[in-house]
Amino acid sequence: LKMAAEEEENLDVSDVQPEEILRPFNKMPVLNTATVLLVGSHRTGKMALARAMVDACADTGLKLQVRTTTSLPLPEENTDTRPRIDYIVFIIDLTNGHSFSTVESAVQYVDVEYFLGRACFVVTNAKSTSDQCVEMEEVARLADMYNTMYLCGGMEEDSERTYLAGRVLRLVEVSAGRKNVSPLLMDLTCRQLSFQDEQTEFYTD
């Protein structure tokens, strides 16, 4: 109860305006189209991932639009012309501490509905531990806080990038309504709902 009181006063001082929050259901969906938003700071490989995703779904009949941004909230003047954002990908580069802090501040501007299967974190450069500034533990903690899965992948080579794009695309298709499964149900199947002490790998996607 003390925590609840703290939370109330924290809400008062937070500077997130309600109209700045990105919501999924404000606009109508369009048949056979999906829009993905990639959020990440500079030099995290957003454009390359966007191109890989568009190439990957070129022949699936899904018209994919990928939008990238370095920070949220998105500018207000485009609010009317922007289509409905079906999926959000937050990109964190472990060699770049700034990318982690931009993602941390960006997740505050996203409605809770996105974290029920319509968002994920992508972690790059997780293999080269010698250059890392951000600890994997912190990313894992962030992903736990928002209960959203995270994918580790590489952005350097083409094969790694297409693989990562394929994984994200499978999640986007569910979120766009192509598979007739609710994204929340997909999200549930990715985790174990038992409450024991010993836990093994959760996200086996």
């Binding site: 939370e7 937070s14 997130v16 941390e104 890392q132 600890e135 533990e137 736990d144 928002y146 209960n147």
Partner: protein
């Protein structure tokens, strides 16, 4: 995370069921056990990045912090509190009249730091030490050129500390030159940590070496062969370097006349443009006053959050005044008037008074990297 005591109002995992207010309550007891790392006896409040809540997702966070979610990832758990004792406390601790351990050999020279897995089957009595030094001499004889049967003289000694801790000193001297040129001085020690290793093993996780690199490699290989252990260079991560900086700031003597600075070197990811390193120099007085204003006064334990706050303050300052995003770069070297520490495992302690404290910190870093602590933490 300690925020799970709140009543949930959005239970997202099981959308069909109704919200039950007693589900987070039973997890608070288990979550407290994960707070008890080796160093902290008191559970801490929220770390700095969770202080800001979001309008939309904060309620979701608060409902969901089950303790089991916290333990699945990397085996490297950074402790939240470290004891960074100031130099005044050092003097009161050594109330014994016994001769303090001779740390002069380790001060004012550049040391390579390694972390060592537990050593198997070593006898630390006189006969055992004699055997060890003979073995090392034989091993080093293979290093010498043909015709040169043995140019090295080795000595392996055990030094006891006031706290009943012992350290192993390995000295390798060249026979043809006198003095310290070309000779190796290394110390294997364990300054902290109460883990008892399994039977027949000795836990001496920190190895410091000073001397030529060929000799160092040879001694390392001999150690690995003789004691069936692994000796690895301790690459200091940016968070470890920040702890070293905190130690340096706390223990710095600000009354010295000459201008002292805190140097932080960063690796810049712009090698193709031609810029590979950036160094930041801050006068010690300012850095120290900033640090004392952040750290809670009167306590000798520095919290991880305070260190993060210090780092964030530096980053915002650099951004506001110079438009440099320091957080995109990786901290590679920290230089304080007390010690220099580098990401490649090189260390230099500038005065013998600070050696015990620095060694304690390095031992805690080494213990974090050792598999014994990882296993023990995993089984808790």
């Amino acid at each position: 995370m300690p925020e799970d005591i709140d009543t949930p109002d959005h239970d997202a995992s099981t959308p069909g069921t109704t919200v039950s207010p007693d589900s987070p309550g039973m997890d608070t007891t288990t979550s407290d056990t994960y707070r008890n790392t080796r160093f902290a006896a008191v559970p801490r409040a929220t770390p700095c990045e969770e202080g800001r809540t979001s309008l939309s997702a904060s309620r979701l966070n608060r409902t969901f912090q089950r303790s089991y979610l916290q333990r699945r990832y990397t085996p490297y758990r950074t402790p939240r509190i470290r004891k960074v004792v100031s130099s005044t406390a050092d003097r009161t601790n050594t109330s014994e009249v016994t001769e303090p351990a001779d740390y002069r050999g380790l001060a004012r020279c550049s040391l390579h730091v390694y972390h060592v897995t537990p050593l198997y089957r070593c006898r630390w009595d006189r006969a055992g030490l004699k055997q060890l030094s003979d073995g090392l001499t034989l091993h080093l004889a293979q290093l010498g050129t043909v015709g040169d049967s043995s140019m090295y003289r080795t000595a392996v000694a055990v030094k006891e500390n006031a706290d009943d801790r012992f350290a192993v000193e390995i000295i390798v001297k060249r026979k043809d030159t006198t003095g310290r040129a070309g000779s190796l001085y290394s110390v294997l020690c364990n300054m902290e940590g109460e883990e008892t290793p399994p039977e027949h093993f000795t836990l001496l996780p920190l190895l410091l070496m000073k001397g030529p690199v060929t000799l160092q490699n040879a001694v390392v290989r001999w150690l690995e062969q003789r004691f069936d252990c692994r000796v690895c260079t301790m690459f200091l991560q940016p968070c470890n370097l920040l702890w070293a900086m905190a130690l340096g700031l706390i223990r710095a003597d600000t009354h010295k006349a000459k201008q002292q600075t805190l140097d932080l070197h960063f690796d810049v990811p712009l090698k193709d443009v031609g810029l590979s390193k950036m160094s930041l120099e801050i006068p010690i007085k300012h850095a120290r006053s900033l640090f004392t204003s952040i750290a809670q006064d009167g306590e000798n334990d520095i919290q991880l959050e305070e260190l993060c706050l210090f780092r964030q303050v530096m980053e915002t300052h650099m951004f506001e005044y110079f438009r440099i995003h320091v957080d995109t770069m990786k901290l590679s070297l920290v230089a304080t008037p007390v010690l220099y520490a580098d990401k490649n495992g090189r260390l230099k302690i500038l005065s013998a008074d600070h050696v015990p404290a620095v060694l304690r910190m390095m031992t805690s870093f080494a213990l974090e990297r050792s598999p014994i602590t990882m296993c023990s933490l995993g089984s808790k």
